[in-house]
């Protein structure tokens, strides 16, 4: 909301305050000043000039040669305007000034061979209006040499104030004046409404009938005859253009002016176009069509409240008038409407039509229902003054269901309980009175206050306490740094997310954050049924992710564009999927938190001592296993699938703890990666973090240490390629006893000469709690293992030492 300080000064004396002080007072009481705009800044240097003489340009018929005096000197100016005459007071721009409409610097120029030392400006060139048919001619009283911003009273400061939805009372200049009055504890004044009426009474030949009293509790009307529709006076045009409105004609400008003066929207009809001398307020018919004054055809529904005459609809109540009854230059008689509409009804209509106007914005927040007649009268007064109208005697005020005043009891004890400070009862009542409350003191320390009708947001004690607090000043509430907490013995929710991030970052992975919203193509990665956004921003962001992997793939692809090929990434985030075709409530879909990891390129950064390790499925597997170990998940097992016929991945390794599936590792397929412009291998893992969090964790326990040294033996052998490492490992453990503590694979080798066999080398670790193991004891066990392997798998031992 834009507030002009020139305009504001009509209602409150703020002459002793600087602009910054005003802005700070408003901001600190809840009307946040978002910006301060100095109007007329760009017209500095433009002055009133006088055309001393005018001759024809010797070389051009349409140009004239003028001598212009700026109060101290005379300049020769070539002027092309048809309306320039000797003796006129005009706006003179000297060479060097920047012309507001073009932003260009005025230079000394030769026009058709004659030097021009400045410019006589048009309204448009100055940015003051649209008129460019000729130069702007000032009144004869204008003082030559006076800056144009002073001469035309253009200088103004406009505050852009962010008004929160609870403060419709502040959506006007009087509203802001009232607010300042409470802050400064100073009087404000509202315009005196005083006008002459003609003998004929409005009621003689005109009536209003409200059929929907719920949505239109009050409707007032006045009629003004014989108006002259014309341009508004300069002061009115200045006010409107300073706050960003384009002046149109006096009648329309007056209703805009009063809207911004009081915050009450006013509509005016051309009385000739309203048939039957009657206005009826009722609902529209279903699917009825109506052309609003912006020329657009709107389709209404039966909930839409309409202003009608006996023959037709003439306005959408509280939102926008109709084309069929709007004020035009031909208008003679005007009907002024001042109404109070039900905020919810106006909001529904505005939402339904997708049409928000200055009027609907205020009606849906709630206007002052006590002020409708006053404001309608204010409009009548101004039309009489500025459009020479004649006001019919009396007024219509249909107010079938009176809106009751709200009374609230405020307890000093409650003020203290909420705010933590004591505020004197006299200060409370002073603040409230300045805000327009009527305050009655009760016995004891309590107050009863009648809430002003322009504050629909205040209905409860707590609302009044807020008023007291903000005018008293939040700054004046002392900081209380006590932390008074009650220990409840409640379980502190574990920080497993934070731990996981620390573990994975510790492994050298970088955390990424991707959007939950993605396009349909991307969510197809998983088999889950994706959830669609009903009102997406774009097709690129139309579905909720069912997996974190597509986001990681996108991240890898984006980084490849910068030749960043070595990536180790992880993300923790929520994924959602539907469980039914139609989603209506929480039972129809699932939301769970996942962890995903992606590896591509080299694992370690380049160094001079070692060759880089390439990311592969085994590195990923080890990483996942170590992570699960670190968060104390027990009994991890893997089930693997090679050569999958899948569009997205060729290898899947499923991860289980006990028999619970907790996630998978994948080698992404070439075709999926190519579609994403990735030419390198990518390995990803996705784990169900919600499930992992819910599983019982292993309790860390101390295991007794042996006091005797361990013995290590290496065993290498050739074995049929079809036998898996897992089978071999299990067999070795089975064929030994508990002295065998550990098996570590340290080599795998294949070549053509091995004929479908592979060479494996394992290190076996033996240890006893009771004694130092002798060579013979270990040899015996190795021999047994060798025998079993030979018998079961037909291995060929290459070395045992």
């Amino acid at each position: 909301m834009k507030i002009s300080l020139n305009w504001l000064k009509n209602y409150i004396d703020i002459s002793n305050l600087s602009v910054d002080e005003i802005a700070r007072y408003l901001t600190m009481s809840g009307l946040e000043v978002e910006s301060i705009d100095e109007i007329g800044k760009d017209l500095k240097g433009f002055v009133v000039g006088e055309v001393v003489s005018k001759k024809n340009h010797p070389n051009a018929d349409k140009l004239s040669l003028c001598q212009v005096n700026n109060g101290s000197e005379t300049f020769q100016v070539v002027c092309g305007a048809p309306n320039v005459e000797q003796g006129q007071k005009i706006v003179f721009a000297q060479v060097g000034l920047i012309i507001p409409s073009t932003g260009e610097k005025l230079k000394k120029a030769k026009i058709r061979g004659i030097e021009s030392q400045g410019m006589i400006c048009s309204e448009k060139e100055l940015g003051l209006g649209e008129n460019h048919t000729g130069i702007l001619v000032l009144s004869k009283d204008a003082v030559v040499g006076e800056p144009i911003i002073d001469s035309l009273k253009l200088s103004d400061v406009v505050l852009e104030i962010g008004i929160t939805p609870n403060r419709p009372d502040a959506l006007s200049h009087i509203g802001v004046a009232r607010e300042l009055s409470a802050i400064l504890r100073k009087k404000y004044s509202i315009p005196k409404i005083d006008y002459d009426e003609i003998d004929e009474s409005i009621g003689d030949n005109f009536s209003v009938s409200i059929e929907n009293e719920v949505d239109c509790p009050r409707y007032c009307a006045l009629i003004v005859r014989n108006v002259k529709v014309k341009e508004s006076p300069q002061w009115l045009r200045n006010y409107l253009s300073n706050v960003g409105l384009r002046p149109l004609n006096n009648i329309v400008d007056i209703s805009n002016f009063v809207l911004l003066e009081y915050g009450q929207p006013i509509h005016t009809f051309d009385a000739k176009l309203v048939e039957g001398n009657k206005i009826i307020i009722k609902n529209a018919d279903e699917n009825e069509k109506f052309v609003t004054l912006d020329g657009k055809e709107r389709i209404l529904w039966s909930d839409t409240l309409m202003i009608c005459d006996p023959e037709k609809k003439i306005a959408i109540a509280g939102v926008m008038g109709g084309k069929n009854s709007e004020i035009t230059s031909a208008t003679k008689d005007v009907i002024i409407e001042g109404a109070y509409f039900n905020p919810k009804s106006i909001r529904r209509t505005s939402k339904f039509l997708g049409l928000s106007t200055d009027a609907s914005y205020r009606f849906e927040r709630g206007v002052d229902h006590k002020n409708t007649l006053t404001v309608a009268k204010r409009v009548a007064q101004l039309i009489a003054e500025l459009a020479d109208g004649e006001i019919l005697a009396g007024y219509i005020d249909e107010y079938p269901s009176k809106i009751e005043d709200v009374e609230v009891t405020v307890r000093s004890s409650r003020v203290k309980k909420v705010l933590g400070i004591e505020i004197d009862r006299d200060e409370i009542s002073e603040i409230l009175e300045h805000l327009g409350f009527e305050v009655r003191k009760l016995n004891g320390s309590d107050l009863v206050c009648k809430v002003p009708s322009f504050r629909p947001d205040i209905t409860r004690e707590i609302d009044v306490i807020e008023e007291v607090a903000r005018i008293h000043g939040y700054e004046n509430i002392e900081v209380d740094s006590r932390v008074s907490f009650t220990v409840t013995g409640e379980e502190v929710i574990s920080q497993s997310e934070k731990e996981t991030r620390e573990i994975l970052s510790g492994f050298g992975l970088n955390e990424v954050i991707n959007n939950t919203l993605m396009k349909y193509e991307e969510v197809k990665f998983s088999d889950y049924k994706p959830i669609k956004i009903l009102n997406p921003i774009s097709q690129e962001l139309s579905h909720l992710r069912t997996s974190l992997i597509p986001g990681l793939v996108r991240t890898i692809s984006a980084n490849h564009k910068f030749s960043e090929f070595d990536l180790m990434l992880y993300e923790i985030g929520n994924c959602m999927y539907a469980q039914k075709d139609i989603i209506e409530n929480f039972n129809d879909f699932s939301e769970k938190q996942n962890i995903a990891i992606a590896l591509t390129g080299s694992i370690a950064s380049v160094n001079w001592r070692e060759k880089p390790t390439k990311a592969d499925i085994f590195y990923l597997k080890g990483l996942v296993e170590t992570y699960l170990d670190k968060i104390s998940l027990d009994k991890i097992s893997f089930t693997s699938y090679n050569d999958l016929e899948n569009d997205y991945y060729n290898i899947e390794v499923k991860v289980f703890t006990d028999s619970t599936y907790i996630g998978s590792l994948y080698k992404l397929s070439h075709s999926y990666l190519t579609r994403n412009a990735i030419e390198r291998e990518v390995f990803v893992a996705e784990l169900d973090f919600s499930k992992i969090k819910s599983l019982p964790k292993l309790k860390s326990k101390f295991n007794l240490l042996s006091n005797y040294p361990k013995v290590e033996r290496d065993l290498s052998f050739l074995i049929d390629d079809s036998i898996t490492y897992k089978q071999i490992e299990e067999k070795i453990y089975q064929s030994s006893d508990k002295l065998l503590k550990k098996i570590m694979l340290f080599d795998q080798y294949r070549d053509e000469k091995m004929f479908n066999r592979k060479s494996l080398a394992v290190r076996l670790e033996f240890q006893s709690y009771e004694k130092t193991l002798t060579n013979e004891e270990v040899d015996k066990r190795i021999q047994k293992i060798v025998n079993v392997l030979e018998k079961e798998f037909n291995v060929q031992i290459r070395a045992a030492n």
Binding site: T27, M28, S29, G30, E32, P165, K344, R347, V418, L419, G420, I421, R460, I462, I465, E466, A469, R470, Y474, E475, I477, V479, D480, S481, R482, V483, S484, F485, T486, E490, I493, R501, S505, G508, N510, E511, V512, I513, N514, N515, T516, L517, I531, L534, N535, I537, L541, L544, T555, A558, E564, M568, N574, M576, I583, E584, N585, F586, A604, N607
Partner: protein
């Protein structure tokens, strides 16, 4: 060749024949004295000879294989071998930092879903139907009554439904707004919600807690101010500003020359919220606050385009290895 018996003698062989002042070099120097017509022939022969000696030298080298040796003194200016260091995203780093501070003040952590019902996201938080307050947060819907939460405040309701006062929680999480993505706003961002309810919680305590948070987060010298504002679920409501961290309050482009930066919204829990969860509105009071993480992180690191946070450029992610 047959006289060469060691690696050292191989080296002597190389110096004698192939060295800078060796026989081959001296022969090449003679080329200027050779008559013009024989020059080409002489050169060709000489090159063949050189090639033969080089081959012999290679054979000798293979005959006496090198053994790796330690440098007499190790060159310690060689770069160290660094472990791979991962990073946490700065949004989670900032989140963790804030959580850590409030845990120190005795706050528990609570969580809630990202897909919420209209009830938890709006109605229970005192956003009436058909009220302009609903325009404050543009919402993504997935069904008539299901939406992507627009703030972390629904966690307040979910937690209070299950726990009786005293309640003291913070709820970090992702939120969504149906807004076009630009440098200044994104359709996803993260918040930390705070809630404290007990028999005698006051606005003065709210100021105290947040002032101490600001001091711990921004440093001892920070100044704060509270401005009245409006949120449907708090009354009175406030926004907290801190002195602009870029200009120290002198006024700059980032703080729009006001010297202040808005960092969070807060207020006393509205009695209507307590009614939604069946708390006694006379007995209990409480405060709540919500901190937007991206904004705080962007100010802290001097980032002026929110989109870079979610583009996950590895060069960006790797910048933040400091804890």
């Amino acid at each position: 060749m047959s006289k060469v018996k060691s690696l050292q003698e191989t080296e002597n062989f190389r110096i004698k024949y192939l060295g800078r002042k060796g026989s081959i070099s001296s022969l090449f120097e003679l080329i200027s004295q050779v008559p013009k017509e024989s020059k080409a022939e002489f050169g060709r022969e000489l090159n063949l000879l050189k090639k033969e000696i080089e081959e012999n030298y290679q054979n000798l080298l293979e005959k006496f294989p090198k053994t790796k040796i330690q440098a007499k003194t190790e060159d310690l200016t060689l770069p160290g071998i660094k472990p791979n260091i991962g990073t946490k995203h700065i949004v989670t780093q900032t989140l963790d930092e804030i959580i850590e501070i409030f845990r120190g003040f005795g706050f528990n952590i609570a969580e809630g879903p990202e897909v919420e019902s209209d009830y938890y996201n709006f109605s229970a938080l005192n956003f009436p139907e058909d009220h302009p307050a609903r325009d404050m947060q543009d919402t993504f819907f997935i069904a008539k009554d299901l939406l992507l939460r627009t703030h972390t405040s629904p966690v307040q309701i979910r937690y209070m439904e299950k726990h009786k006062p005293p309640v003291r929680i913070i709820a970090p999480g992702r939120v969504f707004r149906n807004e076009a993505v630009s440098a200044r706003s994104h359709c996803i961002f993260h918040q930390v919600e705070g809630l404290y309810v007990d028999a005698n919680v006051t606005f003065a305590e709210l100021k105290g807690t947040l002032f101490n948070f600001a001091k711990l987060f921004y440093g001892e010298d920070v100044k704060i101010r509270f401005r009245p504002s409006f949120f449907p679920f708090t009354e009175p409501s406030a926004e907290m500003d801190v002195t602009c961290i870029l200009c120290n309050g002198r006024g700059c482009r980032v703080c729009k020359y006001s010297g202040w930066l808005e960092v969070l919204g807060c207020g006393m829990v509205d009695p209507n919220v307590f009614k939604s969860v069946d708390y006694d509105v006379e007995e209990y009071t409480g405060y709540a606050f919500g901190i937007g993480i991206e904004r705080i992180a962007m100010l802290k690191y001097g980032i002026d385009d929110i989109r870079i946070l979610f583009e996950n450029d590895i060069r960006f992610l790797r910048q933040f290895i400091q804890i």
